[in-house]
Symmetry: C2
Subunit: 290 residues, 2 copies
């Protein structure tokens, strides 16, 4: 696969395929090491990469981790990171297969590479959505900065189960924002996407964050929706699903987390919303730009 | 494979095996971005990881690259890095399959992960040396800091050719120092190693560096040898070779770079030297400790 997907897919000489993804997290951008236990940081670093493998509907197999540790207290910090990393790796029966540990005069940097096994269904890519497919999402959106960005569960089992049981056409995980990542999936598929804003599942944390930011009760719904559409690091899945399968999936609700149909893919390129009067108008794709 | 080798070896569900390695290079430790063209830095970052794959006698297949770029001039820097990375990837017919690009307030950090294809001969590990095996090295050692640490050629083709044509028992690349990395290979193999110091191929750069550091002509040989034994980043290979095959290999000299037999693996653990009088005495393993 070329660039633009959540993970690269490599074909080995013997025809086997694996998915590979890398993420690099830095102190001050992705976490603040002074304000959070190192274990949560280590867990997040690995979870972010696992989420990319989940978005390909692949099974995480192994990780290699590279660290740049501050000289002062680096060893204790490394131990703390691994105390968070290892239980998550064990949960998915992954091995931490190797790594590279360095110390330097800069802040903590963690690079996580995860290798995944592509299933017999093949990789779930970003380019497979077709006009008419439904937009189905896992979970709720917005306000992850209040804590969920550190403690989220990557949707590995969910993606594997769904791809096995329904006709999934495309997928992406929401790392930078629901509207931004949806627009990316649509663009890679050569189509557009229209969201019914009333259907977007808004996380309680999005309301809480809006309150903290001074939204009045009257403003709360729209402020929280704005967070749901544009906040990064939800790490939920956006799936393009064949219409009949989407209807079945929503009726079945086969997972412990809620699946929600929030709209559909359309011919016309770009990102669109259905407003309160049922009219289609443009929707700005917002999110975190690296 | 457990930890302790140059790369991890993963078995996919369908039995295919791949080698995976990661390195993280930081400004101020592995290079000084103000003093060297970014292209050389990018090339080095990739070459370091390719060298680990070469040490496993595997074929590099793809890389994923993660960057933390300083905010100021980050885009130009990234372009410069890739101008060095891409030709090296093309040389080995590798794809740069993906990556993660971030900007932050810190110095440049580059994480390179390389995935390799294990050949039909299996991975060349560190644990396979047996007492009686010869210690064969590629190239020359010492003084790489004068420039070779940026521009070295990883020994991919050499490792693949040698493993195909001779009985290689173990291998490692010299990233931290000839004596230190040899002692690691011996320790992983549960044996010791004895070097005939007179046979160690000393690079011209090791002499040059010794001169720059004020060695007199009388001190030059021993100062240069010290560099050859303990300088990091030679990225040559140390191989454990079955005795008859080693003799054949040295007689054949089948590569464009010189192969040198510098000693043998022995029962007695530790690192040893043969001194000028032919006596065996301990040799300190020196090198770069991260």
């Amino acid at each position: 696969l070329g660039p633009g997907d959540d993970a690269a897919v490599l074909r080995l000489a013997d025809g086997a395929e694996c998915a590979v993804t890398v993420d690099l997290l830095t102190d001050g951008v992705d976490f603040r090491i002074g304000e959070v236990a190192p274990g949560r940081v280590g867990r997040k670093a690995l979870a972010v990469s696992i989420s990319d493998i989940a978005a390909m509907a692949a099974r995480p197999l192994a990780a290699v981790i590279a660290l740049a540790l501050p000289r002062r207290g680096g060893k204790q910090l490394a131990i703390g990171l691994y105390e968070g990393l290892i239980p998550l790796a064990e949960k998915y029966d992954m091995s931490i297969a190797g790594g590279d540990i360095n110390s330097w005069d800069g802040p903590l940097v963690i690079s996580t590479t995860v290798i995944g096994q592509i299933t017999a269904r093949g990789p779930l890519c970003r380019h497979g959505a077709r006009p008419g497919d439904r937009i189905v999402v896992t979970g709720q959106f917005g306000g992850s900065i209040l804590g969920r960005h550190l403690d989220f569960d990557p949707r590995v089992d969910e993606a594997l189960w769904l791809t096995e049981n329904y006709d999934l056409r495309a997928g992406i995980d929401v790392s930078d924002g629901l509207s931004l990542d949806l627009s990316r999936l649509a663009a890679e598929s050569g189509c557009g996407a229209v969201i019914d804003l009333a259907l977007v599942p808004v996380a309680d944390a999005a309301r809480e964050l809006s309150r903290q930011q001074g939204a009045t009760e009257a403003e709360l719904d729209s402020a929280a929706l704005e967070h749901a559409l544009s906040d990064g690091e939800d790490f939920e899945l956006i799936l393009a699903v064949a219409p009949e399968d989407a209807a079945q999936m929503i009726a079945d609700q086969p997972l412990s987390i809620t699946l929600t149909d929030i709209g559909q893919f359309i011919d016309q390129r770009g990102l669109w919303q259905i407003d309160a009067d049922g009219r289609r108008c443009p929707l700005e794709a917002k999110g975190y730009l690296h």
